[in-house]
Chain length 312, copies 2
Amino acid sequence: MTGFSINTVLRALNNKPEVRTETKEKILETATRLGYRPNRLAKGLRLNKTATIGVIVTDVANPFFSALVKGVVKGARDLGYSIILQDTDEAYADEEEAIQVMLSEQVDGLLITPVQSRKETIEKLAAVRFPFVLLARYFDDLETAYVVPNDYQGGFLATEHLLEQGHTRIAIVNGPLHISSARERFQGFKDALNRYGVPLDKSLVKTGALTIDAGRSLARSFFKRESPPTAIVSYSDFVAFGVMQTIHEAGFSIPDNVAIVGYDDVQLASCLKVPLTTIRSPKEKMGRQSDASPRSEVTRRSRWTGTPTAEA
Amino acid sequence: MTGFSINTVLRALNNKPEVRTETKEKILETATRLGYRPNRLAKGLRLNKTATIGVIVTDVANPFFSALVKGVVKGARDLGYSIILQDTDEAYADEEEAIQVMLSEQVDGLLITPVQSRKETIEKLAAVRFPFVLLARYFDDLETAYVVPNDYQGGFLATEHLLEQGHTRIAIVNGPLHISSARERFQGFKDALNRYGVPLDKSLVKTGALTIDAGRSLARSFFKRESPPTAIVSYSDFVAFGVMQTIHEAGFSIPDNVAIVGYDDVQLASCLKVPLTTIRSPKEKMGRQSDASPRSEVTRRSRWTGTPTAEA
DNA sequence: CTGTTAGCGCCTTCAT
DNA sequence: ATGAAGGCGCTAACAG
């Protein structure tokens, strides 16, 4: 349209210095007039770099992850990256498929909250040295980059908070133990009890809760006992919501009869009438931090731990 | 590697009928052995079809939208589509940019929750006949496809629910009126009042709340009055959470002093101790429904309305 | 049934 | 300062 060759046009659009300012202007003008838009596919194909990163979470509907995703999306955009999103629903098969799809999409890097029921996919990814960062969970026997809060400390603080209030019959509705955060928080839970000389009552330990529904049903057994717990630690605020439902169902009141402490500091939690104590984990920061990683090899194998802080 | 030409190999991988079963097997075998993965960029470039759709929401951290996004992601995956996600934070400039980026990515279609402070971008999209569907909001003066709940009915039901309980001093903390859902719910609100012969008190109408924080601060004025409202309709459950905080701050109790009704039926809402009545809007269905649209021209200009149902 | 050719839009290299 | 050629991986069209 301007009479110049495709090359010159593209050079002008890419603002290369070797193009005459005069022609550059002419080209840019007609480009905007015609509504030219670069084709990222072609660029990606040619350069082997798509400015796209894949994000795989286990449940976007979980406020913890949606906040995380928001952080990632925003951070990525600031760097000129786009986000492809997948949701595994904690199913390993879905994780496998999601990774395959994203590799097909030629993403430059991957941010993954691993399901952790198996680790082969992640292992394979590491084996081929594909750039990725684990989010919120990690494998202690796999050398990968990951961004996680200090879950041990979080679990400890949550429990200590209850112990300091004088509770001794403290239950926990934990996540499945193949998930690193559940394991570490549980260790913190046990260590806190130990520190305060409170023996661990195994019947007050429930494992495997990731959703509101699971939290509700797992907590039920506690209230079929002669002496229910006076305090409950929950794996996440999401789970805590379910636990709270059960407490109310059982005719107990929070915090008069039962104290409860959640995790994740989902914004909504602060709106609950009942004082749901929660451990704040820096989601947004986690999101932004992990953005940097696919680009710099430096952060591989590094562990960034946001320090959780207890708050009422 | 198999001795066959690139074409035969690709034909085998695409399971074309014209390839000998024998060679097909040989090719597939070596392909998996070598870990071959199709390049979706190249395919997209060639076919002008990427099996990718762009999703633009105003706030993924809002549980309503994260649930919506989840529905879309799942529905898309079932159809072999991937999702590129952007978050505008209700900023028109971000919406504009997000659309440009996604067009550059050659998405096959767009699902957009429009900011609605301006409509030019959407207008332009419609003008070039790019396939897109508006989510949760629509323009009454633009001919586009959209998927929205029946917000008018929802607003009406929410208000009617309170009226039937005998309330007459009913306030509303609404969203900004440039947003269709806020406008329609408000109309439902007014019509319900009218139906029950309750005059509209303008000082009990607050507009512009989209977040928890906004809900909290907008509701404050209600409790500086001599006679605060005995019931409050909120634009969304998200906003309702903020309103509830204010009610508690003011030393009132729910539902003894003030009844409150939210919207969206965010799953968390059902976990609140206080009875937050909510209008259920079918988010998942909305997500899945909108998935179909970029592919079939038929649904353009169609209005699908999930019928909201009141529930305690 | 298999191979060849051409081209999607972009960028790099080399030649003017 | 500009143009021409080649190729990223894929597919459709045509040829054998």
